[in-house]
Homo-oligomer: 197 residues x 2
DNA sequence: CGAGTTCAATACGGCACCGTATGGAAAAAC
DNA sequence: GTTTTTCCATACGGTGCCGTATTGAACTCG
């Protein structure tokens, strides 16, 4: 038959499968994306690194575009919900949540590369732009809500949430270039300035 | 002889030359870079857009790498000195200069694309990273100096200069994706917060 | 054990691009 | 007016990548 891409193997989590699954391709693709950008996500080099040939790839994926699409889906899901949940679980007061949010997002070691790669990608592909907009809007709204909860009035909160988020994007970009991460004191200073009435 | 790349033609500024110069290639390369990223700067497509063939390109440039190098030189020269000079000429008080600086940098319509493209490029090429570091350091130092001149103490000025500059990078990234530019009020709010004692 | 299913190897045609080699036309220098 | 220089066209070989087609090995299940 010519039906492929069923892929529910993987024996059991914990036993490394001697046969590749789609996730293996995905994770290699993530590495390539963050290190080389979208243009670095190529089928044959990926295959070489995985120690297989293209034959495997085209069994798991329709084509290269399908892989890129899968990357986006993966990112959009994890980029927002996970962080917000973690912050909400860990802290109570909105003030603590703000500081925790900044610490988490600026502390994750591989986040900048991924984030920057996706953004660089977005400058090239309109489909990626849309997702970026959604994610950005969601994150910014969350920050704004925290600021309001702290006591900043709506209008100012919107402006400061934007400012904070812009700085965060800037930091991702900066670190993605190998720049030294901005230290906690600087972030605290900024957040503090944004919080005050 | 096999000596090429002498290129001092261009008749006179004002008369459009019927024959291409290196600058024509450079400006097309800029467009490609900002629209498509480094990987979009390819010799043959550029030639097609200029209505000539590769033969022309390899007369003016050693190879593709030389073109990319020329782009970097061009950028580093214009990216810092020009803006600082303009601001210093136009305003007197450091406070005014700060607001003017932000307005100029966030107001230039093609700056975000160029800036973001160079930064995306920097994530891939270590040689580009170095230039980025230099430029970033110079810009940040300028902002810090302005903050100190306004009356912020050194330590805080360093942190706030960083924060401001990060936000600016973020804005470039944002706008490069087709996001709406952040409005003046938001910038003024941020700058104001960074200025206050 | 034989048949189907799952995953990968091999081999192929095609495209886009790089860089080189060589020749030609038009302008500049003599 | 011939020679030289300047700039571009044409043609070529080479590479890296995409996607398809076909075959084959290993595992699964009857």
């Amino acid at each position: 038959m010519e039906k492929r891409r069923t892929s529910k193997s993987s024996s059991k989590p914990g036993a490394q499968p001697k046969t590749l699954g789609a996730e293996a391709w995905l994770s290699e693709a993530w590495r390539a994306l963050s290190e080389l950008g979208v243009e670095g996500v190529r089928v044959e080099p990926l295959a070489a690194r995985l120690g297989v040939t293209k034959g495997s790839f085209y069994w798991h994926f329709e084509d290269r575009a399908a892989l890129l699409g899968a990357l986006l889906d993966d990112w959009e899901q994890r980029a927002t919900a996970a962080v917000i949940r973690a912050v909400d679980e860990r802290c109570e007061s909105p003030r603590e949540r703000l500081f925790a949010l900044i610490r988490m997002t600026t502390g994750a070691p591989e986040a900048p590369d991924v984030e920057h790669a996706v953004r660089a990608w977005g400058a090239l592909d309109p489909a990626v732009r849309k997702r970026l907009h959604r994610v950005d809007a969601r994150r910014e709204a969350y920050v704004q809500a925290l600021l309001v909860a702290v006591g900043v009035d709506e209008a100012r909160a919107a402006m400061r949430a934007r400012a904070l988020y812009l700085a965060l994007i800037g930091e991702y970009t900066r670190v993605a270039h190998g720049g030294a991460p901005t230290d906690r004191a600087t972030w605290d200073e900024l957040v503090q300035r944004m919080i005050e009435r």
